[in-house]
Amino acid sequence: MSAQPILPPIVIPVPSLNEERSALLARLTDGLDAAALYWISGYAAGLAARGAPALAVVPAGDRDVDVAPTRVTVLYGSQTGNAKREAERLHEALRGEGAEVRLLRADAYPLRELADERVLFVVISTQGEGEPPDDARAFVEFLSGRRAPKLEQLRFAVLGLGDSSYPQFNAIGRLLDARFEALGGRRLFARGEADVDVATVAAPWLAQAREQVRVLKPSSSVATGSAIGIAPVATTWSKEQPGSAELLVNQRITARESTQDVRHLEIAVDAGFDYEPGDALGIRPRNAGAVVERVITRLGLSGHESVRIGDEIRSLHDWLSGHRELTRLHRGFVQQHAQRAKVSALDALLAAGDAAAFNAWLGARQVDDVLQEFPGEWSAGEFVAALRPLAPRLYSIASSRKAVGDEAHLAVAVLDAQGPFGAHRGVASGFLADAEVGASLPVYLERNERFRLPADASRDVIMIGPGTGVAPFRGFVQERSALGARGRNWLFFGARHARSQFLYQLEWQAALKAGQLHRLELAFSRDQAERVYVQQRLREQGRDVVAWLEGGAHLYVCGAIAMGKSVHAALREIVITHGGRDEDGADDYLGELQRSGRYARDVY
């Protein structure tokens, strides 16, 4: 992957206004409400960022002025259909008032639109012991969570449906009603709490809603709350100085019976973190505290020893925690250690010329394993100097900004192998898996220009990504859906077991249904007697794959190196079988696809 071009930071000078401009500013701002003032500040910031005083820009808020009818959303969450029925009645009634009104089931509501919502009516039932209906779980969760947006321009009213023979009567209606208010929304009128005789409460509530919509005049004084027009401020996060990004979600996405722990992470990034699908997120991990402690104890040191390397002075503990590799061994360290340990077995291992065997030996051990197996004396300074600097780790970003806004998502497989003396956890995957929501993560953007969607959105794409190799393709499909790309999307995914390791299963199912994903081939290697992998699915679909490629499709492979090789071999085979080429012709063809950027690989 190429290094990231760093954009220069924006320097904002102290405002220096002469008297005349100060007076103008005072006249301009006099009597404006908070929303308008925010809008102006955003507008001005945008001008500053562009460095161009283009005053011809029409404020976005003006679009709402004049005769546009009030836009109203009626949202419902319903288990047995009662809430849906009341919501439909309301929808009908409001349409009768001439309002621009839309009716949405909670799970069909685009959560990102909530921040811009002006008038919202919610009709929602409460199940059993205070649970939301199934179709509203995600909505309630989102609204209750830390990512719920400010709702200062929202006017709302809630109708709850419940059964008073349950202790948690109408708990969900109450929760939403309180939450909308806490987020800054203005309540149009009091919450309705319908019991089993729904209509007694629902009918007057509906009448009130109707009356409110009737009196709501299109307002010209309220500008949209978001600061439209501001150019993105370029991020300054870099490999050397990673940014501090808040972890929003840390969710295991393999089922409990899966031995592999894969995490879906959602990370807040700043507005200038303008990644594209295919890019990677760099993370500067820290070694696990227990690993650091073990090594220090093994060396008979305290950790407080001050160690200087070049210009940097840190304690041993600090060096080992954040700046030196402890989970990856390298030959240089083993050589130096051998001189200290004076063990013939270690010398013999180093002397033997079998590189493969030595690498396998290295791969199975971490620094602490060597210290335990072959004790040797180290001073703090020499030890730190002998270790390699802790390298950042890269993860393919699993989202599109067009779909998730100021967030970057990752799919991270937690490396958890058995070492000779205990469990080996990946330094970065373990660090991420253990990170708590709200934690700050040191991250930066690593561009990957070689792994880009076709500029021509009408091209088809074939994506081969078993395991967490599927990550960039989640971003691809999000991006192509947001763009309304006409080209078709074909995904090959694989894992051991469908039931426990089908990463993003619900999302792929929804994408297929929505026509955002056109084909999905699956290879679950351990669900039947014979092992089946993605390359076999590729062979089975060989005729179509070749047809897609000949039609201009781009093909992407992401995942383990060995898989990449197997997939390449399968591609070569099907180009021969179905593409009418001989072996050399197939190699030329695939080579040409690679050179032209139509066959891209991101393997690791």
Partner: protein
Amino acid sequence: MNATGNHDAPNFSSPSRSEGEAGRGLLSPVETLKRESRGLRGTLRESLEDAITGSLRESDAQLLKFHGSYQQDDRDVREERRLQKLEPAYSFMIRTRLPGGVATPAQWLALDALATRYGNDTLRLTTRQAFQIHGILKHDLKPTIAAINQTLIDTIAACGDVNRNVMVSANPVESRAHAKVQAHAVALSEHLLPHTRAYHEIWLDEQQVVGAEASEPIYGPTYLPRKFKVGFAIPPVNDVDVFSQDLGLIAIIEGGELLGYNLLAGGGMGTTHGDARTYPRLADVLGFIRADQVITAATAVLTTQRDHGNRSDRKLSRLKYTIDRLGLDAFKREVEARLGEPLQPAREVHFDHNGDRFGWVEGFDGRWHHTLRIESGRLRDTGTVRGLSGLRAIAAEHRGDFRLTPNQNLVIANVDAADRARIDALLADHGLDDQLRGATFRRFALACVALPTCTLAMAEAERYLPDILDRIESVLIQHGLRDEPLLFRISGCPNGCSRPYLGEIALVGKAPGRYNLMLGADFEGRRLNRLYRENIDEAAILAELDMLFARFAAERAGGEHFGDFVVRTGIVRAPVAIAVELGA
């Protein structure tokens, strides 16, 4: 709304306009589905092959019931998996058709092997004398069903809007007449099988014959409006709860000879919380039929329901509502017209109880039968009680057969006197020799499956049974009622698979940890109970029972049963009298 339960067809909730069903309004979407299913084929093959989901398409999941399987999911992990962006942990329950619950040792071993290979390492004996294997994944469904068929057991019509597994009193002790009743039940079950070859094509790879889709001589293209349950009782034991059946047949035996049956119709347990139009109902006695009229009379009742049952609202489509809508006399006239002759007056009948007789009993022919208590009907290996392994060991040696009882227990039947000791030893080896420990009421308890697999469950039943039995037991013991026989039943929802409305004490689930407490059925299965307290938790249940047992211990009249006591003393109003008086 707080109603947590789904009903049979949660996603088929918007009815379409009925044609040719004058006066009954909108046709239930399930009716359209059946009509358009091409003889129950639907798109099951395609659904089974779709690797993107472990579930079936909604319409195919509905049709699958007719093939003897339900799509379920592990509700314990439903929310966890949603957060994991995984679909629910779908699996399938397969139910056998096993008239009278009679199985050979070879069949037992085959089902045990399937439960272990494809299922969740348990076998469940149902309240309708069938086997259930739980936890089958979609891609194992076909091999499992095919393997069941190889044992000469099938699963056709074990679920769905058809005649379900036919029940028969389980104890083959009393007389030769029992074998005749069993033979009638088998013949009736066979007669009422759907004729479609869909089952054989989909599961057994039978080639489809062109044009073979259309003929369903008994059911017609839309089958029945709802499930249809048949039970044969052999007095004096009412173990089949004959009054809870859509169609009940009570054997009339004199001097060891089977003369015929009293014919009953219109029983049913299922209700819907909060829907006053629904109710449990005991079957009415229509009259007496000769033994040679079993099939024609049963078919007359079934086709009357086929033609007159409600096909627009599935909550109201069982035979019991049809009878109440038509009126019993009109219904009976229709049945007689279809039968071609009038029914004779019903004969005098007496029942002692509706439970099982545990332990060894010698039959009329000198062979021995051992009835084993199986709590909740679930056979599994847990700790020292190794029910699955134990029965496997017995089946490997047993030369008689097995009888699944309507109370979810098991009869190891037709054992030579000489083999009894060996069976006893195997039971002891597997920790199965102490199944009757504790207070007497434990042996009568019934529980449905409920959570985590049943899609209808609102509260726990089977998993909760051991705990609630322990707690009720200690209350009983405090009041000196350790040896009191008492019918206790628990059901996770109001549909009533454990026949809760016939419990002297019953808990019907409303929400997690909360139940309706029902009281006052009798001990013979002839009187329904009534709602005593609504939507209460365990502490409230135990407090109520503590108070009630105290009064019962102090005020009972003679050998009066608890259910009779609460009615006599007005603790619950006398349940609505449903005509179950027998005799002309």
